[in-house]
Amino acid sequence: MSSNETVISAQGLTKVFKDFWGRSKALAVDGIDFEVRRGEVFGLLGPNGSGKSTTVKILLGLLYPTRGRITVFDHSPRHVQTKARIGYLPEESYLYRYLNSDETIDFFGSLFHIDSKERRDRADQLIEMVGLDNARRRHVGEFSKGMQRRIGLAQALINDPDLIVLDEPTSGLDPIGCREIKDLILTLAERGKTVILSSHLLADVEDVCDRAMILYGGRVQAMGTMSELLANRDATRITAPTLSRDTMERVLTLIRADTGSEEVRVDNPTQNLESLFLNIVEQARRKESETSGATSGHRVADYLRGDAAGDRADRVLDHLTRAADGPTAGQAPEVATAAETVAHDKLAGLAKAEPVPKAKVAPGKGENLDKANEKLGGLLGD
């Protein structure tokens, strides 16, 4: 759902950390250029010390660029009014330890000049959404890391931001929490929100991002849509319902004849560990409903869902399969290679010979569609 409206624009962005005497100490970001458009989920990838956090902090106005230019909603990151459109979840819990959940949300909400009734209303929804309903009177200092991430996320969304900056959002969360965060990101993106996701967990970025920028040594090493970055142009994967031995042999013979290669493999697809885990937990939950601490599986706050809540259950699946459907808006379409053209022709031939259900090319995702739909429906309360 990205548009051409530029939310973040950086040109030649450079940050040099200096010591007390003004001597250069470290070149954290080295002349990077990038743009993020409205509605995009943009990933910042890179190992520790690659400049991800520095870039995030520059775009939040917490660090000032040494050289280059960066604008957020066409303003300097230090422009006070612009900050009303931004939500930020830092990589660590930087919250006031002596405030409880309610007070934390209320305090940060008051900084946005949201009236007290609306603040209370939103706080109720957010605390329920992040599963801290049972811990709303406990001080943040008593929270586990995962609970702190949850309350941190809640405060980042109190203003229904247009731009959400999430620094390692799934750090410290259990797999259910991770999935909820990812679902939330997609919900927000559907509503036209822009999300910056800084992470070194590649799966997180892969699951939800439209585009990503890979940093190393403060420089951009690669940038593009997920399909551009992940596509393996030298191989083709076909996924189909279970085939009979005869059909399999005919397909393999046809492929071997066409490609002239013996490197054709056949196996049963596996679901990824996250899906397996979620399924198990879901089954367990049906048997035992009570748990202590943070809970999961709550609906996204109404004011954050907007109109995008209707077909929420299909959203993750759509997204997970989007990589196979082509580039997102704003990205230049790729020209198919000769090998891919041949593969498409073969598939067309196969389809004529024996009709099969529509295949989704998404390695490791979407295998158990009914389960996933059910799960997401539960998460979103639809």
Partner: protein, 522 residues
């Protein structure tokens, strides 16, 4: 800015800082009076209680304000909590002022009950006194607000030989005196010159060498000639000062205090006091001396009633108050002398008696109640706390917590320890004076720089610390609304504003997400 203030308050409460401060104040208010040993009189006891409780409260809240000012900002920056606030749509100056406001609300919340507790405790003590005389003394001399009137300090009090000395006028006057004209021979210009002349200039007119030296210097401004001129001016100033302050054995001195004629009738309804302090060259070993006082000579309002001198043997180097008791009041209320109180002192000791100009005698008269005066005194203390808090916040705007605390305490200590600076101004430099002549032999440019620096610092510190609310309250002297307004302007608006502007500027420039607290600003 209110949410930040509220959150700052909440932090102080949740971290039990308020509880600790509250307990400490309780000990000060209720515990300190039990430990004090006074002269046994109710007045002395209450004065001690006021001095120590209010002094300790000021010190405690001052330290707490500095600590909180440094901690609330520096800690939040170091622990990255400030990042969460800085990314919200609130200007940094609002965050800064919000922090200040939060601490000041806390200060007010602690100072007001402390003030009330002190007030009611003292009132209860006064009411429970069985001795009516003691009670009256307490109510008239301590639990009261008394305005003071002093002789105006002469304009030459801060003159220095060679600098700020009206040499041309002194020369013109000396020449005029040398002409030996009679009174009716002066032109109008000459008469106006005579009318404007001060005591030191008059003293110089009696030294014919002064005019000669000036004429000599006009032709040949040699250093020795100029030094001689300055020496004469210095002597004249010393003489004038001495004549104002020193009463030689067997001599008498006279002061005149002018009271607003419109206030005379009201003032005469209540007791009036003469307050003074003297020494007899015995600062380090105070002794008692015979003092003879007389008030209202030449008027119908004489004191003592028999018209002679009131004799008393009293100690030096402490303040004394004499109640000028007379039916119908002591302030002359008729004719040209209405509102003019003349006070005479005779020295029958064998040593000179000195009345330092700064602590010179004053007349105290009833002007209001103790409660209002206490409130004004507490407000001045509150202004101080505001400035101290701003200093802490300013330092923590660009320094880490321990360094900011160290720096803030340093600033406070230096600004409160101005003795050395006063000495530099007094001795006209840092190279020392010739103790034989009482003056510097030669002034260097270093001296001039030191004097300029000292004067600047002193004028700034005087702007802040030039008030003594505790002293005024314990001696029942009025802290006027004018004083309060001046204190507010000087402490909060000028100094507080300057410190705040600097703090906000530094905070605005500070990069809140620097990976290393010792890293510099961009």
């Amino acid at each position: 800015m209110w949410p930040v203030a509220k959150q700052t308050l909440k932090a102080a409460v949740r971290y039990r800082f308020v509880v600790a401060l509250g307990l400490a104040l309780l000990v000060i208010v209720f515990g300190v009076p039990l430990l004090l040993k006074s002269d046994g009189t109710a007045k002395g006891t209450v004065q001690l209680v006021l001095t120590y409780t209010l002094g300790a409260t000021t010190a405690l809240l001052g330290i707490a304000s500095l600590w909180m000012g440094c901690g609330t900002l520096a800690r939040e920056i170091e622990d990255n909590m400030m990042q969460m606030v800085a990314v919200k749509p609130i200007a940094r100056w609002r965050v800064w002022l919000g922090k200040w406001l939060g601490i000041m609300i806390l200060n007010a919340a602690l100072l007001v009950p402390t003030g009330l507790a002190v007030y009611f405790l003292i009132e209860a003590r006064a009411s429970s006194l069985e001795n009516a005389e003691e009670q009256a003394k307490l109510r008239n001399e301590v639990l009261v607000s008394r305005s003071s009137v002093r002789e105006p300090i002469p304009e030459w009090a801060d003159w220095r030989a060679g600098t700020k000395f009206p040499r041309q006028r002194a020369y013109a006057y000396a020449k005029l005196v040398a002409q030996g004209k009679s009174e009716n021979q002066y032109t109008s210009g000459e008469q106006s010159l005579i009318d404007s002349i001060t005591l030191p200039e008059h003293g110089l007119s009696l030294r014919p060498e002064y005019t000669q030296l000036i004429e000599q210097a006009a032709k040949n401004p040699a250093a020795e000639v100029l030094a001689d001129i300055e020496a004469l001016e210095h002597q004249a100033l010393q003489f004038a000062k001495g004549s104002r302050e020193i009463v030689l054995p067997g001599q008498m001195i006279n002061w005149e205090f002018k009271i607003d004629p419109d206030e005379v009738d009201r003032i005469n309804e209540k007791p009036i006091y003469l307050r003074f302090k003297f020494n007899a060259g015995d600062e380090y070993d105070p002794k008692s001396h015979l003092c003879l006082w007389s008030v209202g000579r030449g008027t119908s309002k004489r004191w003592p009633l028999d018209g002679e001198f009131e004799e008393m043997t009293i100690g030096s180097n402490v303040f004394h108050e004499i109640k000028l008791e007379r039916v119908g009041g002591i302030v002359p209320d008729k004719g040209a002398n209405r509102g003019l109180i003349r006070v005479n002192f005779a020295n029958l000791n064998d040593k000179p008696i000195v009345f330092p100009m700064d602590d010179g005698p004053m007349i105290l008269y009833h002007d209001g109640g103790f409660g209002t005066n206490l409130m004004r005194g507490l407000l001045i203390i509150f202004f101080w706390l505001g400035l101290i808090c701003a200093i802490g916040l300013m330092a923590s705007s660009f320094l880490s917590f321990p360094v900011a605390t160290f720096m803030s305490f340093g600033i406070l200590l230096i600004s409160a320890s101005t003795g050395t600076l006063e000495q530099i101004v007094e001795e006209e430099g840092i190279t020392g004076i010739n103790h034989e002549t009482g003056r510097k032999d030669e002034s260097s440019s270093l001296d001039n720089v030191a004097i300029l620096f000292s004067k600047t610092v002193l004028s700034v510190t005087d702007l802040v610390w030039g008030y003594s609310p505790v002293d005024h309250l314990s001696s029942g002297r009025t802290i006027s609304w004018t004083t309060l307004a001046t204190a507010f302007t000087g402490i909060i608006l000028l100094m507080g504003g300057l410190v705040s502007a600097l703090g906000v500027y530094m905070f605005q420039r500070r990069e809140l997400a620097l990976p290393n607290p010792t890293a510099s600003m961009n």
